[in-house]
Amino acid sequence: MRIGILCRVIETNDRMSVLPVCTDTRQLGCGFGIWNVRQDGEHGDPRIAICPQGGGVKQFDTPDLESILNALKEGGVFPQARVLALEKLKALVGYHRDKIWRPSQQDDYETALEHYPTVRREIWNMVKIWCVQEGKLLDEAWDVLVEQLSK
């Protein structure tokens, strides 16, 4: 997985202050930076270095997401990053879970026709099934996220 935005940031700034973890590094209990360690004119994939506060410099090739996460592990911040991401995912899943239609037995096509006379039966049924099937995935995702965040 390539990271276009990250590469562009690296090309235009000496120090990359945008980190995929949170905006306030003080929350994480360790400051760190990501640096482009390729020299001007040097070819090849960007190479990054991470400098955990009080630790030695670690260098990583190919700034794909996995490498970044591996880099962040070195700074001891991966667990916090995971929790942050799970919390945001929970908010996102929760939003869609609340919003999706939960069809009941009463939501039959004949009743729907009273409000939407031009809706075709096959479309009505497909939307119903679609909502039920997506709702189940959202419910399952919600339960797993709640469980993971309670650990």
Partner: protein, 266 residues
């Protein structure tokens, strides 16, 4: 091998470019297409041009193909106004995507309508139909990942328990039987995209694979509505297998949505 389709009758962007070099009318309309990062609108214009030729009483190499393409579709972009309202009220993840898609297509259609000539005979419904032909029938060419239309092969229906598969060779595309029995009169079927979710399958192909209320979608596309969107970072493809894995693997988050999800930038 069940079917072999030679390159000579496969429609790709290269075929369209080649034909446009010798056909000013087609070229003019293609030139009016807004800048597009994808090939699909180019293929749509090509099919519409041959639809126009067919309607005008002319024939071309592609007439028989065009004549036999379906003239209706259950893809949501073809739904009527009330059906779209129902879809929106249902609050599915793809409700917004459909409106965005229709708006995007309208921009293209309006741009093409500025060109004098054959495109003036193409209606909005024609344009949507061509879009559906392309969206639901193209294969991704393994050599360059670009969509191609493979006549005849694109008549093969989908089944999750497929008994055939397609393969690209040096000469064309082959439909190959899987080593399973197909009874006399039995349908030959391939698997389109096994991992698509219920909504995306309907969005792309106009059908739901398993119409059971007990079934669970394999994937849901979630749109982040927070104000902290960054480029494409407002889209998260949440997959059943990731959920079942307890979110131990978060690599489905690309950089943009990882960044969006893990930072507060209000």
């Amino acid at each position: 091998m069940a079917i072999f389709v030679p390159y000579a009758i496969i429609i790709s962007s290269d075929v369209v470019s080649e034909e446009a070099q010798h056909d000013k009318e087609l070229q003019n309309v293609l030139n009016a297409l807004p800048d597009t990062p994808t090939v699909e609108p180019i293929l749509s214009v090509f099919l519409l041009y041959h639809l126009y030729l067919l309607r005008s009483g002319g024939t071309s190499k592609w007439s028989v193909y065009i004549e036999n393409l379906p003239k209706t579709s259950l893809r949501p972009i073809h739904w009527n106004q009330e059906e779209i309202v129902v879809l929106q009220l249902a609050g599915t993840s793809i409700s917004r995507a459909i409106l965005a898609k229709l708006s995007f297509l309208k921009t293209y259609y309006d741009a093409l309508r500025q060109v004098d000539g054959w495109f003036q005979t193409i209606t909005w419904d024609d344009y949507l139909l061509a879009e559906s032909w392309v969206s639901s029938r193209t294969l991704s060419c393994p050599r360059n990942d670009k969509p191609i239309l493979v006549p005849i092969l694109d008549l093969v229906n989908h089944s999750s328990v497929r008994n055939a598969a397609w393969e690209m060779t040096l000469e064309g595309v082959e439909l190959i039987r899987e080593p399973v029995d197909i009874p006399a009169g039995g349908e030959v079927a391939i698997a389109y995209d096994l991992d698509r979710g219920t909504g995306e399958r309907l969005y792309r192909y106009g059908f739901i694979e398993d119409e059971s209320y007990d079934c669970i979608s394999k994937e849901v596309v979630l749109f982040d509505v927070s104000p902290s969107r960054v480029f494409g970072g407002n889209v998260v493809r949440l997959r059943l297998e990731v959920v079942k894995g307890g979110f131990s693997d978060l690599s489905f988050l690309n950089y943009e949505n990882w960044y969006t999800l893990s930072s507060d930038r209000n």
